[in-house]
Amino acid sequence: MAESRSCDEVLKAAFPSIVQKDEVQKEFSHFLVSKDLLPAITRYLHTQPGLHGRLTLLWAVDNRPTRNTYGLHYLFTLEPSHRWMLLSAELAGNDRLFPSITPHIHAAQWYEREIRDMFGLIPQGHPDLRRLVRHEHWPKGTHPLKKDFLWDHVLGRQQGEHHFRRIEGEGVFEVPVGPIHAGIIEPGHFRFSVAGEPIMQLELHHFWTHRGVEKLFEQQTLTAAVPLAERVSGDTTIGHSLAYCQAVESLLHLEVPRRGRYLRSLFLELERLHNHLGDVGAICNDTAYALPHAHCSRMKEQIMQLNDRLTGSRFLRGVTRVGGVAIDLTAAQLAEIVAEMDRIEQDFSELESIIAHNASLIDRLETTGVLTERTAWDHAVVGVVGRASGLDQDLRRDRPFAAYDELPVKVVNYRYGDVRARMRVRMDEIHESMRLVREVRLKIPQGPVAGEPSRVAQTGEWALSAVEGWRGEILYMVTAGENGTIQRCKVRDPSFVNWPAIQWAVIGNIIPDFPLINKSFNLSYAGNDL
């Protein structure tokens, strides 16, 4: 606490004109700044050694109906203390320009382009002002998150073409891939520039699955939007619904009972397990090593069937609710889970030794798709990918939620940043998750699993929440509207920050290794595109 206050003082000393908002109940510092100061302050936060701020979330709000302004919010995590610091700036309702921070903070690039597409605000000085979410055929002037844009607006179509960055020269050619891929995966477009085998440049063209999720949230009420949160990225059902529910709970000042918190941790770990197991197998499969894939997908299936037996949903849909969880587990069911964990852990350990003894596999994985620590930091990469590149971060330890304050997590960390490191992070986390599941069974207290809200949120109140899903940090910002509606809901899946980093990890690798590198990142398209 003392440390965080000193960070506030440092910032105030450097920029005397900023105003600190005194919000006692919030566990982060909040400053109001004028928009012209934004580049200087964010740069200071990002580069000052004692502060070491990582851009965690950047979002805009259309406040024109009430205050005739747009709000811009920059959330930083100060790495040494893991404390959050929020900078807010206001833009007069008729002002469409704001200064871009991308020239100093690389991680802001997609956020600012997103704001431009969704709100029509222009980040001045941004090096790349092409459209991001709205593909070129969207008509001019359509900015879906503006309050005067109807959620069920029927879009027209205009002519337009996406321009890729071009590398020209003798023997350089482009390889377009997607949006529809060869495997059963989601749509996205990749444009490679190659000379011979090695990749010189990769450019992503995504947002094919943009479904308007953030606008759809605004049509819902706070307590009824959980199913939508579960469908932001289907494989992260618990991660997203939990992050959403936590934000709503802090709006409603709702305390989740201990047993509910433990069950939340338990389900989150089950989700992590089935996804990590699938990924380890899929990485091996992309080197044409089918045996571990068969075993891993069998184990993954076992966990999904277990989920189905416990909750009636293979993806744990309908489990989280505002106030706690919707399903209680009996002692017998907890024992069943632990027995299944023991079986799978034994099974998986045997497989691990088979994998570790396969020299040709390891040879293929090592030094492939290296994401250096520096690049990872510059892009503010999170989750599994960050931990494989030496970034020591895990919200379960750094900002404990659910029951993680009583369930200490051993955070896995590797430095090499190659495909092998990403696979090993997953393998180690599988063991750690199983350990956590066992610990939940030992420590879980008796009692209710959910609380009921006793208060309605005031219009304009907002809350932030963060959950370490299996991919990484999931963030939600929810603003309450009138009568329990949602005024704004900002969703950030870890994929949104990790996708741009993949463009750097592939450089110098050969195209046949791209599927492998992509699999080792395993990012969500649905969660990214919203």
Binding site: H135, G212, P227, R314, D347
Partner: protein, 168 residues
């Protein structure tokens, strides 16, 4: 080598170890079976995601795991629509994917089946009405078979797919 053999022997055969299909699916229309009879019980499927939340994809992927093992029914996943007999479409059709879906449909050789997988593909599900969604699938291309669920369980998908293959 010994390690691998031991592991395989210890694991044994897992195919078919899954709960039975429970979602009562309507039997496919006689025309659909007639169309499918041209494929002689071998169905090459191309999966197209037009904006799903990816849970439907994961269940399609699960079909290829050793537990469900669709290949034993002559069903396999083709890498290109040009090799496909059937398109499995998931997700509400988004504004950005609309054109790609129509292109894929055009590139799939006739005769072909279109299978709408999941509530989103059938009626846009949770995303109905959004500005970014133009679906459902049958607004853009003709749909032969519908497999409801959010997402449908692999056992249900498997049952629906094998139902199509039955002789009319």
């Amino acid at each position: 080598m010994f390690r691998i053999l031991k592991k395989s022997l210890k694991t044994g055969v897992v195919t078919g170890r899954h709960p039975p299909a429970i979602q009562p699916s309507e039997p496919p229309a006689p025309e659909v079976r007639k169309k499918a009879s041209a494929f002689n019980r071998s169905l090459a499927i191309r999966e197209v995601d037009t904006g799903s939340c990816n849970a439907c994809e994961m269940e399609m992927n699960a079909l290829t795991n050793p537990v469900y093992d669709v290949e034993r029914f002559g069903i396999h996943i083709a890498a290109s629509p040009r090799h496909a007999d059937a398109l499995v479409v998931t997700g509400p059709v988004t504004v950005n994917m609309e054109r790609a879906l129509k292109d894929v449909y055009k590139q799939t050789p006739d005769p072909k089946l279109v299978i709408a997988l999941g509530d989103c593909a059938i009626n846009c599900g949770a995303f109905k009405g959004s500005y970014a969604v133009t679906g459902p699938v049958d607004r853009h291309i003709p749909v032969d078979v519908r497999i409801p669920g959010c997402p449908p369980r692999p056992a249900d998908i498997l049952k629906a797919l094998t139902d199509i293959q039955e002789r009319p």
